[in-house]
Amino acid sequence: MSDEILIKAQGLTKQFISYKKPPGLKGSFSAFFKREKKVKDAVKDFSFEIKKGEIIGLLGPNGAGKTTLMKMFTGIIVPSFGELKILGSNPWERDKNFRKRIALVMGQKSQLWWDIPAMDSFLLLQKYYEVSDEAFKARIDKMSDLLGVKDLLHIHVRKLSLGERMKMELMASLLHNPEVIFLDEPTIGLDLVAQENIRRFIKDYHQENRCSIIITSHYMQDVQALCDRLVLIFDGKKGYDGSLEDFESILGNEKSVSFTFSAPQDRENPLWKDYAATWNEDTTHVDFRVPEDQLRSLSAQIISQCEVDDFATEKLPIERVMKELMNNPEILRQHD
């Protein structure tokens, strides 16, 4: 990763104005003459920097402001206040050279033309982004090969499955070799295999091209597999900005473990008595959390002293942290 800063946001704020309408016919009638204006801060005083080559996960609950940020970063909407520089440009001025250096993939919205084959859209984008014939052919060949969609390039987009379409969307957005890529929920609605394929493709693409990527997703597997750094947004404000490891330890350096035994166990056994363990009814399965530095020795003791059928540690600690934070955002303030 280089020290060159590609994205710099300072005090970025976006306000949306809506109008309140009282219920019923009377409400509709009175709202026709007088409407109550409501100003909502979708993003408030948001500041951060992204260096060249970084992959950032932008996380937060629904309505937190992630997509609004993505829209501002790509110049689709204009910030209400604050400063934003991406690749040295003001995104909302929509300079053509700036647009040639970025890409956006929207998981919930197709950017390909629905009624024509994906290849026709690619040819159109080749001209728009002024990609040479050689580079275009090489990139199409390589990406379609990696994503396994070589046979689908000439099929109408409307006839593709969601997973296939998303692969085409990715190809379309990467044809011009962008320096900054914005991925807004790229794996939404996809099955596990398709999610895995997309993740692997993004990771390989990033390793090869050293571009900067900002990704929003509700799937923690995406974040775990791709991101070096997390930025959390709650209610339009930045809640956390740091490494994945630090994020995992927000709730303390503890790991969740679970054991399944072949016979019922004594709840008062000193091995787990002090760990606030949760048992099933016949005491053959237990879950508890243990400090990370004790995990290895304690697990070894349990396995040697008891008849263990199955043993598992937490696969996605960030999912647990995320859930906890979404339920109780106050934790972040205490953590600061």
């Binding site: 949306f16 997509t67 829209k71 790509t74 110049g75 689709i76 909407i77 204009v78 929509r94 053509k96 050279n97 647009r99 040639k100 970025i102 890409a103 956006l104 929207m106 919930q108 919205k109 950017q111 033309w113 009624d115 024509i116 026709d120 859209s121 040819l123 159109l124 984008l125 001209k127 728009y128 982004y129 002024e130 807004d184």
Partner: protein, 265 residues
């Protein structure tokens, strides 16, 4: 050169898009004009019914139908494009992609209109061939015919800029279809598409000559019918209104895009 290739490929892709649903497209283009023609045919048939010698302001029944058949052809070429999707695309946040591509939205939309216009010309040509084959219209001299086509295409550019405005107003308005309907109705009446302007009071025609409306139907039809018209005045006034609407469109877009929320993304 690179910019021309961007326009060219957009026109080609738009052809593919327009013709993806052929029957639907054909009906959408020819349907309204055809229905409108038959409504007018019935109207004037009723007025002239039983009075074969009736001449209204120089129009006997045959001349009136000739007038409306040419009005039908002119409307196919000049007023076929409706910017139907523009307002909906803005309202539903579908223009986001075009804000990211290094090809401006107005360029995309205009190239799409040009491609539509080429297909429209083909349909108008075919219609004219059928009408000519059955002797329903009398074709003017080649020179006059080409002149008329050029003039009608020029009017279609004006119609496009005006339709574009009704589309971009969607940044402020929830629904813009009512504007388009109002615009169509007003232009039907004031352009001579329903009643030739010869039947209007003189003072009204004098006033209308400063608006773009008479040049949408009445003047091009008169040109195709081989009658003398003041082309310089027609071209100057349409040019003025086209530039006027282009400027307004530019200003409306500049302000409107600041309100755009890219809903649904």
């Amino acid at each position: 050169m690179t910019n021309i290739s961007k326009w060219w490929i957009t026109i080609k892709i738009s052809w593919v898009k327009h013709t993806a649903y052929r029957l639907n497209f054909f009906l959408q283009i020819i349907g309204p004009s055809l229905v409108f023609f038959f409504v007018k045919y019935n109207l004037w048939s009723s007025i002239y019914a039983g009075e074969e010698d009736l001449i209204i302001k120089g129009f006997d029944f045959q001349a009136m139908i000739q007038y409306h058949l040419w009005a039908f052809v002119v409307s196919l070429v000049a007023q076929g494009h409706g910017s139907w999707n523009l307002a909906e695309d803005i309202r539903l946040g579908r223009i986001s992609s075009y804000l990211i591509y290094p090809f401006n939205f107005w360029e995309f939309h205009t190239a799409s209109w040009l491609s539509f216009q080429v297909i429209q010309m083909g349909i108008a040509g075919l219609t004219l061939c059928i009408l000519g084959f059955f002797g329903l219209v009398t074709l003017p001299s080649t020179h006059l015919f080409l002149f008329g086509i050029g003039y009608t295409l020029f009017i279609s550019l004006f119609w496009f800029t005006m339709q574009y405005l009704t589309g971009v107003l969607a940044f402020w308005l929830e629904e813009t279809w009512i504007l388009r309907v109002m615009l169509s109705i007003v232009s039907y009446f004031l352009s001579g598409a329903i009643i030739p302007l010869d039947l209007y009071p003189k003072w009204m025609v004098t006033f209308l000559n400063y608006t773009p409306f008479p040049y949408l139907t009445y003047y091009p039809v008169k040109l195709f019918l081989g009658e003398a018209i003041d082309l310089t005045q027609g071209v100057s006034i349409i040019l003025f209104w086209t530039l006027f609407f282009a400027l307004i469109n530019h200003l409306v877009w500049k302000r409107g895009i600041k309100l755009y929320t890219a809903a649904g993304m």
